[in-house]
């Protein structure tokens, strides 16, 4: 029986096996070896070996994990293995054994060639100095100045040269991804370099809130006060998150006064102008804008090109001019998105070993640009109906049941607000309604959203379903 099976096996394998493929050859050898030795032996000696390559001269190289294996193969299995491969083909003349490294040990070489010690390597990118909370990665060297931010940049320089006197506080605002955090952190890093003895502290307003509530809870509010009053330069990022946090605002107000009176420099950043921050105490608003409030506007194309080039160069990749231009003009998002794109190009370049050309970039950018909103009315109706757990058909019907009316109004509102469909066409698509009905529904929802937070939340949830 066994013999028969071997014969059969052999015939099948011989007819289908690719003799030149090391993996298939090894698999075949294993099936043969397994029949000839005990399973304990097989598991011990053959599990971690493989055919490395088949030489031109008919020598099969078998990779083994250590000297133990090499010696034992030579002593015990050499004749057996030789017999097996001879059966496959007479082209195979001999077997040689070599000790090979584990697969996963190979990539380690790259980190060594990076030229930095292994200890500091993982820390470098993410390392944040805990005494001042600043990320050393953000410096003015890597900061691109263009017409969109040169006012903010010069204000920052003045604040560093004459801290606490000229522009105090310095308030920097602009949309997300414009480089606010980079700028304020660069100020901190530069300040630290210029005035070694002085204390800098960077924090987000959210951290300030948490710190404050923790301090109140632990009954150490005084220590909290002292802690923040000792700094010569305090940088608070994203102050708009302080809205509605009345107690924290009050604390910030006092802190502000204490620092301002002693001519300590304060820097704020926010995504909108001081007056436009909702739910924030008037006296704080006034103080925010009492020094210098500058905005960072949208970067112009030239600046975007400089940014792309600089970011790529930081990673050691030089991009051709047309690639830079293409990337800068195609992506109309924040600088952060631009940076992400550059990172993906850099990754491509590192994998392939050379900078990508325009065609490749276009190819990889395709996946990066946002999908167009190609969503049909029917789709919206389906999603909303599903969200409210009602029958999709009933939306189109003339029914005026409460549980249907509200979703229908929501649909109209969404189609109008998010998809900019005209009132009459919304009406016709939702079962031939008059456009005045649609206008009424939209207005109604718009009004209600303001007072009814649960409705606002519902619509927010539906929107996330539609993206």
């Amino acid at each position: 029986m066994l013999v028969l099976q071997i014969f059969r096996n052999k015939r099948i394998i011989e007819s289908t096996m690719d003799k030149g493929n090391p993996r298939e050859l090894w698999e075949y050898m294993l099936t043969q070896v397994e029949l000839s030795i005990s399973s304990a032996n097989f598991n011990t000696w053959f599990r971690s070996s493989f055919v490395v390559k088949i030489g031109e001269d008919g020598v099969v190289y078998i990779g083994v994990p250590s000297q133990f294996f090499k010696d034992w193969y030579l002593k015990k299995f050499h004749t057996l293995l030789l017999k097996i491969i001879r059966d496959v083909s007479y082209e195979f003349r001999n077997i040689e054994y070599m000790i090979v490294k584990d697969e996963r040990r190979k990539p380690m070489k790259e980190t060594v060639s990076a030229g930095r010690g292994a200890l500091e390597l993982p820390l470098h990118e993410f390392y944040i100095n805990k005494s001042d909370n600043l990320n050393p990665r953000y410096t003015f060297d890597t900061f691109v100045v263009g017409s969109f931010n040169d006012l903010a940049y010069s204000a920052a320089q003045v604040a560093i040269q004459r801290p606490g006197i000229t522009y105090n506080p310095l308030f920097i605002y602009g949309d997300t991804g414009r480089g606010k955090t980079h700028l304020v952190q660069a100020i901190g890093n530069q300040y630290k370099k210029q005035y070694p003895g002085r204390k800098v502290y960077y924090l987000t307003s959210e951290k300030f809130v948490v710190d404050y509530t923790d301090a109140v809870q632990a009954g150490t509010a005084n220590r909290f006060k002292d802690k923040y009053r000792q700094y010569d330069l305090l940088i608070m990022d994203d102050v708009q998150f302080l809205s509605k946090k009345d107690k924290t605002q009050e604390e910030l107000f006092h802190l502000f006064n204490a620092l301002h009176d002693t001519n300590k420099q304060i820097i704020f950043s926010s995504d909108r102008a001081p007056v436009a921050i909702p739910d924030i105490a008037e006296r704080l608003k006034g103080r925010f804008s009492s020094g210098m409030a500058v905005d960072i506007s949208e970067p112009d194309p030239e600046s975007r090109m400089v940014i792309v080039r600089k970011k790529a160069a930081l990673h050691g990749v030089i991009l051709s001019d047309d690639v830079v231009e293409y990337v800068a003009t195609t992506l109309t998002g924040s600088i952060r998105e631009l940076e992400g794109m550059v990172n993906s190009i850099v990754c491509h370049a590192q994998v392939k070993g050379l900078a990508p050309d325009i065609a490749e970039v276009r190819q990889s950018l395709r996946s990066f640009t946002r999908p167009q909103k190609s969503i049909s009315v029917k789709n919206v109706v389906g999603r909303v109906a599903e969200f409210y757990g009602i029958n999709e058909e009933s939306i189109y019907e003339k029914t005026r049941r409460r549980e249907v009316v509200r979703p229908r109004q929501v649909i109209m509102y969404l189609l109008r607000e998010d998809f900019r469909i005209s009132y009459p066409s919304i009406g016709t698509k939702l079962g031939g309604r008059d456009h005045t009905t649609v206008i009424h529904s939209c207005e109604k929802i718009k009004r209600e959203i303001v007072v009814d937070t649960s409705l606002a939340k519902e619509i927010q949830n539906i929107r996330s379903l539609l993206v």
Binding site: S66, F68, G117, L119, P122, K130
Partner: protein, 377 residues
Amino acid sequence: MRAINNPNKACMNISIEKKIFSEAVYKVARFAERKSSTLPALSSILILAGDDGIKMRATNLETGIDLKLEGICMSEGVVAIPATLLQQIAGSLVGEGKITLEHSGDVISLTSGTSKSAIKTVPYDDFPSIPFPENPKKNILLPGVLLRTLFSSIAACASPSTIRPELASLYFAVEGGLLTVVATDSFRLAEKKVPLSNKGIQGTFLIPAKNALEIAQALPDGDVTISFDEHQCAFVSSQGMIVSRLTSAAYPDYRQIIPKDSIVEAVVLRKDFETALKRTTIFADSFQKVSLSFDPKRKHLVLFAKNSDIGESSESLSAQILGSDLNLSFNHRFLSTVFSLTTSESISLTAAGIGRPIIIKGVGDNSLLYLISPMNQ
């Protein structure tokens, strides 16, 4: 069956001093495979009696040992016995006297004094040979005692995880008559230098730290020759040979991380530091954090630990401090490792600044360099 196959090796008969026997089994058994899933021969000890005396062998295919024993060989032969079983027997031997091993059929009988036991043997055909480095051109000679302390102290600093095999290994570099042994787990690093008697040899190798610890237990006191090639190293002494697989990977250039400048240096008495650290450690938090403050004005080194569940403790040591104020936090386990690395009466701590590693040395002990990365505060 084996007996019939090898009639001339069948009837091994040897007699060994109980004490020698027990010690040998204790040493050799740790090299046997502990997992039962593999070949039975790998979890056995092979006893050979032949022309070159009595020998015991064991291997787990990572490391291997071949140990010579003093004893009387009445009749030659080879036998493999399960290591755990032999270990238990050896542990139960008491008093003076000899133990006699007599092999017949597939049973070996152990006679010592009035007791007699028969053990079933394991087929020894599967027992692998212990590989010696293929062309051991590189040899270094060291006293076994020194090597043993070197292994057992430094190996603790290597990484316990095998994800990066080079960090789970000890790095040996021989150059200009100096042996440098390094271990790091990427949080701290220990480097020890030992002068060699034979100069002119150059080379580096990486030995898995786990293997080094096992080898340290079995090394004799006398001189040991270390031979190595690319894949294998051997520790040869008059009493036998121990081999280990080497890690084939590139070791990171660790010298780059050693800070060259410093802003503050403190010298403290080892005794003071040790007791202070021990006391402060009680209050360390779950991150095992202990902070060190250098206060050059008052000439104090302050140890501080705080645990929100227990409380806090601080202790100032009078120290000789030169430089500027600095406060750094460390994992206390890493700090206390230094006491096993040096025997100096005083310890010097050199810091290069916030977020940079601290260097600890024994005063007057130039052989050691110990470096710890600080924790984020």
